[in-house]
């Protein structure tokens, strides 16, 4: 049914650049444009102009669309009335005492954007008090209920202490849609916080719990679409405040939307929802789809008010601007930063707001300035891509703020920006790659990882579009993929010895932001490797700890047959805490015993025996030592290394305190040539101890001296430490150094 698209036009590239630039802020955007339009002043000017016009064009098309509506009406009015279909007469409102389905209305308890709310009693199948919201006239009952039905399953899945359940929907005898919800008696969150004089920290704590409720709903595929103070009530349960989000699913069902929920405008004059809290994409002519990030925006607006005492946009002033003016403001203008807004208030108002937060006015402003201003603005960014991508992201940043850690709400760096460009544009992929390469300037071996992660990013984006219900998960994966891409990039920088840049990048995307996963293993491995090569041991410990966790998610056979354990063990033993190595070897044995071939056995022995071991542990390894001694081949066809088998057994007998066997296996190991000296020096440390234990002090000293000579010749740092033949693996050297220290202590006290 689809004809293929014509070949890409110059507009394709313009479109790609436009979209990328739009998702970037000030400096980052400028830098991106300068790089892209290098030497093309005309193109640069045009793009800058288009970007300036982004908001205006949206407003222009809104107005044009609106006027089109007026014209349509005019045309229709000019059509002679046909024989009219029977017209439904608007029925009077249902009141207390009335029966609606199984519900009896008791008392009118409120009025909201969509209609009137009653307290009601459910009679069948069981008695309970509920809140029943009757949608006001003028809405198409059938469609409202159909839309509710479409979401009913998702709504039923929601079960969270901070969300009011939605039970049912139906149509009143007079044909108006109604919704039945858990009855929540509480006060709106803003009023409650002020009355209780909550300070900023308490307000943020409470807000984070609201976020948790919303995040839960997002995970079930439900977007609220109308988050505002009056939809978040605080009840007190056993003395602790409990925020509850009400009206879930109602905005979507009740808004006169087309199937993708694209507009909240009922007509040119009527607007469902509350403008100061609505995201630009809810106001715009559906340039973008409303998704979970619209809720992030509204939460940002709520946070703004909780912190500063005023909504981000003044509802009354907006109303006075008229609909077009209002739209333009909401689409084009960023609200003042909370701290700046407060600074412009009359002293008396400011004093009241500060008092309700138990602060001095000046201190309140100072506390909001910086991180909290940043968090609010990031949540309320006009472009969804620039917001926190999930509600969890917002909550996590607030928790970072409370914990005095650096928050994420800050400017994106260059790599972030390039990555962003590349991963958005299949079309100009070649172009994008060219830019990355020119920036990266020949990154060498680690570069493939970056491209690999970028591919993963694209894949995540593709998958993510398939279902809204997967949205939250997808965002998470995308963030993870992005973080991994950034960290791989750091590894690439390290391999180039561009250490400061790598560190700057790692500060921006700390390793801890990446969850251990199979995908992440490669990132941790590469970065750990480069850190180790350049002697950055603290960072290496962090990387290898994460690698170990990530490997738990992978195939155990692959893990134990790889060199990962050989690297993790000495890093933790030498630079981690004592407990970290103990835990590592315990878990490794639990996970990988019994060894089914010599390769596994050799690895296990080396990984587990870098520190003295108790009887139990050695007993556990008995079978393993036999497998190693028999040189049992691997089914996978992986080669075994008799010289390393011999070394591992030397180590095993050393831990068993069996000096004769140590010397026996050491001899076998030493008959094999060793290009780099790692194995020979480590073995000599073991023979030194064995000889010392047998009373041969001279021999012990001789071996130890020889070992020291070899270890002293080891390269200090650099790429050859990544090769088993050139410089020798750094981790093999590390094993030799550990054993040398041990032998030196034992022999020379």
């Amino acid at each position: 049914m689809n004809s293929p698209l014509p070949p890409s036009t110059s507009l394709d590239i313009e479109s790609a650049v436009y979209e990328t630039a739009l998702s970037l802020d000030g400096e980052a955007r400028e830098e991106f444009l300068r790089q892209f339009y290098h030497g093309n002043e005309e193109g640069l000017e045009r793009m800058r102009r288009l970007l300036r016009q982004a908001g205006k064009s949206a407003a222009f098309f809104l107005e044009a669309h609106e006027h089109q509506g007026r014209l349509a009406e005019e045309i229709l009015e000019s059509i002679p009335e046909p024989a009219a279909e029977p017209v439904k007469t608007p029925a009077s409102e249902e009141g207390p005492g009335a029966h609606i389905g199984p519900y009896r209305l008791i008392e009118r308890i409120g009025e909201g954007g969509y209609g009137v709310v009653y307290e009601a009693e459910q009679e069948k199948p069981f008695h309970r008090r509920v809140a029943l919201k009757i949608i006001r006239l003028g809405m198409d009952t059938e469609n409202v209920i159909a839309r509710f039905e479409a979401e009913r399953q998702a709504l039923a899945l929601m079960d969270h202490p901070n969300i009011a359940r939605v039970f049912d929907a139906g149509s009143t005898p007079t044909g108006r849609p109604y919704f039945v919800m858990e009855r929540v008696t509480g006060e709106r969150i803003t009023t409650w916080c002020d009355r209780e004089r909550l300070d900023l920290r308490q307000r943020i704590d409470l807000f984070v719990r609201v976020c948790q409720g919303i995040q839960h709903a997002h995970q079930k595929g439900v977007i609220h679409r109308d988050i505002k103070p009056s939809n978040i009530l605080v009840t007190t349960k056993d003395g602790t405040p409990e925020p509850k989000v009400i009206d879930f699913g109602i905005a979507k069902a009740a808004a006169p939307v087309l199937e993708n929920g694209e507009t909240i405008w009922t007509s040119r004059d009527q607007l469902i929802g509350t403008p100061p809290y609505m995201s630009p994409e809810q106001i715009d002519l559906s340039g973008l789809k409303v998704d979970t990030r619209s809720d992030v925006y509204s939460l940002g607006a709520l946070l703004y008010e909780l912190l500063s005492g005023r909504p981000p946009f003044d509802g009354k002033a907006l109303a006075e601007l008229g609909v077009s003016g209002m739209r333009r403001i909401l689409l084009e203008q960023d609200p003042p930063l909370p701290s700046r807004m407060l600074a412009t208030l009359p002293a008396k108002e400011l004093a009241e707001i500060a008092a309700a937060r138990q602060e001095e006015p000046a201190r309140l402003i100072a506390k909001l300035r910086g991180d909290l201003d940043g968090i609010v603005s990031m949540a309320m960014a006009k472009e969804p891509d620039r917001r926190y991508q999930t509600v969890n992201g917002l909550a996590a940043d607030l928790q970072r703020y409370l914990a005095c850690e650096p928050v994420k709400a800050r400017r994106p760096g260059r790599l972030y920006l390039v990555g962003k460009f590349v991963r958005r544009n299949r079309l100009v992929c070649a172009l994008g790659a060219a830019i990355v390469v020119s920036l990266a300037g020949g990154f060498g071996t680690s570069m493939w990882l970056f491209f690999h992660e970028r591919q993963a990013l694209r894949e995540q984006e593709r998958l993510g579009r398939e279902a809204e219900i997967a949205r939250a998960r997808e965002e998470h994966l995308r963030e993870q993929a992005q973080a991994r891409a950034s960290v791989s990039q750091a590894a690439a920088l390290l391999s180039e010895q561009r250490i400061e840049e790598a560190d700057a990048l790692l500060r921006k995307h700390p390793l801890t932001s990446i969850e251990p996963s199979r995908e992440a293993a490669g990132v941790f491995r590469t970065l750990g490797h480069w850190n180790a090569i350049y002697g950055r041991w603290d960072q290496a410990v962090q990387c290898y700890t994460l690698l170990d966790q990530a490997n738990h998610l992978d195939d155990p056979v692959q893990t134990i047959e790889s060199t990962d354990v050989l690297a993790i063990a000495p890093v933790l033993r030498a630079y981690g805490t004592r407990a970290s190595y103990e835990r590592f070897r315990r878990e490794t044995l639990e996970r990988h015993l019994p060894a089914t071939n010599a390769l596994q056995a050799e690895h296990l022995l080396k990984a587990a025996l870098l520190a003295p071991a108790d009887k139990d542990l050695l007993e556990q390894l008995r079978e393993t030592a036999l497998t190693c001694a028999r040189d049992v081949p691997a089914e996978s066809g992986s080669p075994t290394y008799p010289e390393w088998n011999a070394f591992s057994l030397t180590l095993y007998y050393h831990r068993l305190n069996d000096p004769e066997r140590v010397l026996e296996w050491a001899d076998r190991s030493l008959t094999h040539p060793d290009a780099t000296g790692t194995r020979v020096s480590a073995t000599l440390c073991l023979t030194a101890m064995a000889k010392s234990r047998l009373g041969d002090r001279e021999g012990a000293t001789r071996d130890l001296t020889k070992a020291w000579e070899i270890i002293g010749r080891a390269p200090q740092s650099g790429e050859t430490l990544g090769s088993p033949t050139e410089g020798g693996f750094w981790f093999s050297w590390l094993v030799a150094r550990l054993l040398f220290d041990e032998a030196n202590r034992e022999i020379n006290g």
Partner: protein
């Protein structure tokens, strides 16, 4: 005053769709509270629903074709109406609003619609695919997923095309009316 059917290829569709639009309008108007505006979006949707629910749809071959046809019809109806109004107000005849608009006169809403129409003609020459997105979105009132289905491209692509086309068109319009 009854609108004249537009000339050209759209005329047949127009005459077929017009009674439908009228019927929809009549039932709609009765439900509308005073002051409500009928959105062309709603009109087209209902026309579409009714047409596809009837046996008539076989005549249109397939739904995609119908979407585009309805959108084109809406476009010509609306542009004609805007042109009539603009002409009546100025008491003169003119072909290209952009010339007229260069004068220091505030741009009327009708002129804005005509400017959209003209800049879209321009876009149709330069990039028919993006122009089609605009036609379906702006005149047809189709949602992003509907456009994506109709054109056989991804939703995200439609969003990008629409977002970029808006600013592309606006840039033309802004130049015509001497802004920026």
């Amino acid at each position: 005053m009854s609108p004249e059917p537009p000339a050209g290829p759209a005329s047949q569709l127009f005459s077929e769709l017009y009674p439908q639009l009228r019927r929809i309008a009549a039932s709609r108007m009765a439900l509308q509270a005073p002051g409500h505006t009928l959105q062309p979006t709603a009109l087209v949707h209902e026309a579409w629903i009714r047409l596809t629910n009837s046996d008539d749809d076989k005549r249109f071959g397939n739904v995609e074709h119908l979407f585009a046809a309805v959108s084109r019809t809406m476009r010509s109806i609306l542009v004609d109406r805007a042109r009539q109004r603009s002409r009546a107000k100025r008491g003169g005849d003119f072909q290209r609003v952009s010339l007229d608009a260069a004068e220091d006169v505030p741009i009327s809403d009708d002129d804005k619609l005509l400017l959209v129409h003209e800049s879209l003609c321009q876009l149709e020459k330069e990039d028919p695919v993006r122009a089609r997105v605009v036609l379906l979105k702006f005149y047809g009132g189709l949602s992003i997923p509907e456009i994506a289905r109709e054109m056989g491209i991804g939703e995200r692509t439609v969003e990008r095309y629409w977002s970029h086309a808006k600013v592309w068109l606006y840039d033309q319009i802004a130049a015509a009316i001497g802004e920026e």
